[in-house]
Symmetry: C2
Subunit: 241 residues, 2 copies
């Protein structure tokens, strides 16, 4: 099923991006729900269940956007099924808090990536999808998880520095997925390039001749955007980025 | 925190029942979400995530009912925290489908128990809570899980008979919790006795002198109600009860 080739505007960008965003939200749901199940106390268990529920709500709104384009849920997500397998294998947490931070960092990068890519959509295609992707950004859904982690880090400096290290490892692996994802899905690489141009136009920046190829320049720009948001996210939890 | 002793009408019954129902829904959320995470394919993963989300939605409506009585979420559920520990220890699944069936059977018994107990509430207390407990009963939330299990059983008679055996084990352990739960929470035992009287009044049955004590007669009645619903549930999945 090639969901990127139908029902998605001129080049399938909106459908591919909707499918990617929905798949990544489904993964985030799993990470948060899993840490609800083995949470250390009932308050945390409830808070993370509710957070997982809100993430799923976002995901279902994204799938509803796909449905308005005549694409069913599974068809939209199928091209991305398994895209996190390497990431998961390389970020096997050693503790409950590492598992939770993996969820927050991974979901954060995923949301930021999708937000950046929406900037590459033609304006008439972008509004609905951007609303679904931006919904509650950056805090709403992960809010309870970041509060739990911030409190744990504040009470235990040793844990805080272990989590800071762990956060670096997780974000490194997450960012490492981005080039592979763009290479495997040219339609997303096209959105990234368009987003890069839109960003330059907004900020009045002149994008000079790239040192390497244009794709490499776009990747560097995207990674730097995602890194900056990651730093802010770690700051909000009181963890060194 | 003794949530059963405040804000809950004359004897705390509505608050205790709300807390119990919310706690059991939270447990069901965890079982369904967990089987979404390790689902064999994307369609099933999505279906079980959505099912878990709907279970959580029910749970949050129950907590909202508790909130209208001035009881916070954790306070309402705290008296029941850990009530499933023995059940979980005795029903460690050996496979993904056993885990899913555990969720469906366990959640089914939990919902049926809460529905029966609402019949013991005074009419003026019962309406709102009964609406929250009955919401979508019996199929809505677990629907996708029962469809998955019914299809698996239909395609594989060996699996079907293994699941039938497993379902008997799970329901046995679930029903085994009921007497302990009523003994530990006299307010719930009071609701069960009132529900028994309401049932007799509705069916025109004359409840004779019980053979043993009244509590034992009430327990037998309750277990027989839960067993009957379990049989219907297994039938819907094409599994021998």
């Amino acid at each position: 099923m090639d969901a990127t080739s139908r029902g998605g505007g001129a080049d399938g960008g909106p459908v591919a991006l909707t499918g990617l965003a929905a798949y990544l939200e489904l993964a985030a749901f799993g990470l948060l729900a899993g840490r609800s199940v083995d949470a250390p106390d009932l308050v945390t268990r409830q808070a993370l269940a509710s957070a997982a529920g809100r993430v799923l709500g976002r995901q279902e709104r994204l799938l509803a956007v796909a449905a308005t384009r005549g694409v069913d849920a599974t068809a939209a997500m199928t091209p991305f099924d398994g895209v996190l397998a390497d990431f998961d294998a390389r970020t096997e947490p050693d503790s409950w808090s590492e598992g939770l931070l993996k969820g927050v960092v991974g979901h954060g990068v995923a949301q930021d990536l999708c937000r950046e890519l929406t900037r590459g959509l033609p304006a008439d295609e972008a509004a609905e999808l951007r609303r679904a992707v931006d919904d509650g950004w950056p805090e709403e859904a992960d809010g309870p998880a970041t509060v739990v982690l911030a409190q744990a880090a504040e009470q235990d400096p040793v844990l805080a520095s272990r989590l800071a290290l762990w956060g670096r490892r997780v974000v490194g692996e997450a960012l490492g997925l981005v080039p592979a994802l763009l290479a495997a899905h040219p339609v997303l690489a096209g959105l990234a390039a368009a987003a890069r141009r839109a960003d330059a136009a907004e900020t009045g920046e002149t994008v000079g001749e790239p040192v390497g190829d244009e794709a490499a320049e776009v990747r560097s720009w995207l990674i730097s955007r995602l890194t900056a948001e990651h730093t802010r996210r770690m700051d909000r939890m009181g963890l060194a980025a």
